[in-house]
């Protein structure tokens, strides 16, 4: 059974179509990564699934409940963690958790037990009596997660949970998410980080309000648009990446060239010789080295497909 099912879900704001006939399913117990540029419709989609916005047309079920007719049941059965910190800053960690626990109907010994479990899971033990405003970004996100988990929802929506927190806190938070997923929870995560996307079981990529990609990270990398037959993707290290990139883009053999971290990823016909690539770079005054065949990254996938959809001008 699926935790989430969307069927032609659409939402308009006036003339603007924010979410355009989006259809997909999320399997129970999986981590679903929902990706796309800012303003592509990710948050609108999540808000509809959480019952915060009603769809203009189409339908969706969450945990088997219809998002329009059974929005209160949907709300009882999900956890929601927003990209901006949305707990009470003047209340302590413990008071925040007590409040959200009781809102979901937990009381007495059960509430105490659930609080303890949530606190232990996210490691907030030493900060119980600190006000939320005094916590650092990473700890705030942990508190938000604990609050989203307090009523033991089977499905948790996380809207950019790692936005604006430091790399270590980000890594720790993802370790937590894996722990949750391994205990059978379904996670619906939006993110801009490609390394986070790589860790998801399934990915949906939304662009200009439409879902354009859907699959496992591996499936996406093997798409024919990403790895056309007769073409090869190579990685080239260089000290002058900007210069090298513009030089390579002018070469007739360059099918596509992007910068991935400090390396250039070049897509070229399989019969292009490594030496001619390096010679071209040398000639442009931006020598390259360590040229080797590489797997496409998810970033390659999204950049390539987004460019293709954006039209021939780019």
């Amino acid at each position: 059974m699926n935790a989430i099912e969307l069927t032609n879900l659409t939402r308009n704001f006036g003339d603007f179509v924010a979410v355009d006939h989006v259809t997909f399913q999320v399997a129970k117990g999986s981590i679903f990564g929902f990706l796309g540029p800012n303003g592509s419709g990710k948050s609108t989609c999540i808000r509809m699934l959480c019952g915060l916005l009603s769809p203009t047309s189409g339908s969706a079920t969450v945990n088997g409940f219809d998002i329009v007719r059974q929005s209160e049941q949907v709300k009882q059965s999900i956890g929601y963690m927003n990209q901006s910190f949305s707990l009470y800053r003047d209340l302590s960690v413990s008071e925040n958790l007590t409040f959200f626990g009781s809102i979901y109907g937990l009381k007495g010994a059960h509430l105490v037990e659930r609080k303890k479990q949530a606190i232990d899971l996210v490691g907030l033990g030493p900060y119980l009596n600190q006000r939320a405003s005094e916590l650092s970004g990473g700890w705030r996100q942990r508190l938000s997660l604990a609050a989203a988990l307090i009523h033991e929802p089977e499905l948790i929506f996380l809207d950019e949970p790692t936005a604006g927190i430091d790399p270590v806190a980000r890594r720790d938070l993802w370790d937590l998410l894996f722990e949750l997923a391994s205990s059978g929870k379904t996670l619906f995560v939006t993110t801009h980080y490609m390394d986070e996307a790589e860790r998801c079981d399934q990915i949906g990529y939304i662009y200009l309000s439409k879902l354009i990609l859907r699959g496992t990270p591996q499936e996406l990398k093997e798409l024919p648009e990403v790895c056309p037959p007769g073409a090869r993707r190579v990685g080239i290290a260089t000290h002058t990446p900007a210069k090298a990139l513009s030089a390579l883009k002018k070469q007739p053999f360059a099918l596509d060239a992007t910068l991935v971290e400090s390396e250039i990823h070049l897509l070229m016909p399989s019969d292009t010789k490594d030496e001619s690539v390096l010679q071209a770079m040398e000639a442009a005054g931006a020598p390259g080295y360590n040229l080797r065949t590489v797997e496409p990254s998810l970033e390659d996938v999204f950049v390539l497909l987004t460019r293709k959809l954006a039209g021939p001008t780019q």
């Binding site: 915060l52 927003n82 003047d90 008071e95 959200f100 009781s102 809102i103």
Partner: protein
């Protein structure tokens, strides 16, 4: 789904917010006290000791005696003496005095004549004085005329018997009304911020994705502030007693009990504002929009019956209109519940309507 869901949790949370923010709490409690003290002294229709100039051109025993009788009334206070009527006009124009009494040269002679001969035609030869009054402040002018009213011989002399407020003190009338107006001002603003603040902080969205009941949220927001409002009622009554010597003629317990429906109604009014306003600045504007006119329309200063039709009808929609009746009834006239039940019923109905509107307006979905 239970629409009252989460009521208890919201109440506890709101109390915690209040405890965490002692500044707001102290300000909320102090503002009514400060306002009552300031306005209580400032609003006073008991105009006495109006500065007066005497221009005595007669200088007889009779004129001196007349000045003496004027002096004994509290209305005028003789601050200056002048020589001519020009002096009098000058003194009023430059604001030195507000009344000038000019006694003509024949005053003493006419006085002795009118006392001696009752057969003389009345009016023509009766002694007269000219009184100049600065009419620019109509309140002062009206009061000033009282100083010169004398019972005329032969006319029926009315004997007044004031049932309540025998001293005709304004404070007895103003302070209870002021308490109502000030309590409304504070209670409306207390709740008008509540939902908007959560919207601005982003916490409202977290509440919206929870199964919290709409009515539970609304009532949960009102109850803690109702407790605060009741503390304020006690404080302002104490202050009225200590500073203005306004004693509650009726039962103080009844007054406190009947303050509850008033608190419910005004807090709900604030809550309704909170469901309309998009941010705290707007909430402040809206609450001023409601509370300022109600100061004039509730019957606090002027009788509601004198207002034009539409305004008169509008005054029925204001909780403070009914509370004004309750306050003045219990504090001044010692009224009991049987005299006031209609006002109580009106407050309860108004409160229920306002809560219903707020609940209906508040959607657990974004715009």
């Amino acid at each position: 789904m239970n629409t009252l869901n989460g009521f208890q949790a919201i109440v506890l949370k709101e109390f915690m917010h209040l405890r965490r923010d002692p500044t707001t709490l102290v300000i909320a409690l102090m503002i009514p006290m400060v306002q009552l003290t300031l306005f209580g002294f400032a609003i006073n229709f008991d105009i006495r000791h109006i500065s007066t100039m005497i221009v005595d051109t007669d200088r007889s025993a009779a004129s001196r005696q007349y000045v003496e009788t004027l002096r004994t009334t509290d209305y005028v206070q003789i601050t200056k003496y002048g020589q001519t009527s020009h002096d009098a006009e000058d003194a009023i124009r430059c604001g030195d005095v507000q009344i000038a009494v000019i006694i003509p040269p024949n005053f003493g002679r006419l006085t002795s004549l009118s006392l001696a001969g009752p057969g003389l035609p009345p009016g023509r030869l009766r002694p007269q004085v000219k009184v100049l009054i600065d009419g620019s402040d109509s309140q002062v002018a009206t009061q000033a005329r009282f100083a010169f009213v004398k019972p005329s011989i032969g006319a029926v002399e009315p004997r007044f018997d004031f049932l309540y407020n025998p001293d005709m003190k304004t404070t007895t009338f103003i302070i209870p009304g002021l308490i109502g107006v000030i309590l409304q001002l504070v209670t409306v603003s207390l709740t008008s911020f509540s939902l908007v603040r959560e919207r601005e902080m982003g916490t409202l969205e977290q509440l919206m994705v929870s199964p919290v009941g709409r009515l539970g949220l609304m009532l949960g927001k009102v109850l803690p502030y109702l407790c605060l409002a009741m503390v304020e009622v006690v404080l302002v009554l104490l202050l009225g007693r200590i500073v203005f010597d306004v004693r509650v003629a009726g039962s103080i317990w009844l007054l406190l009990l009947l303050s509850i429906p008033f608190g419910m109604a005004t807090l709900s009014l604030g809550l309704m504002i909170s469901t309309i306003a998009q941010n705290q600045a707007q909430a402040l504007q809206y609450s001023l929009l409601v509370t300022m006119p109600s100061i004039l329309m509730s019957g606090f200063l002027y009788p509601r019956e004198t207002m034009p039709g539409v305004l008169y009808l509008f005054s029925f929609a204001l909780p403070v209109t009914y509370y004004m009746e309750i306050l003045r009834g219990i504090v001044v006239r010692g009224a009991g519940f049987a005299d006031l039940w209609q006002d109580v019923a009106a407050l309860l109905i108004l409160g229920a309507i306002l809560i219903a509107i707020s609940t209906a307006r508040f959607r657990k979905t974004l715009a």
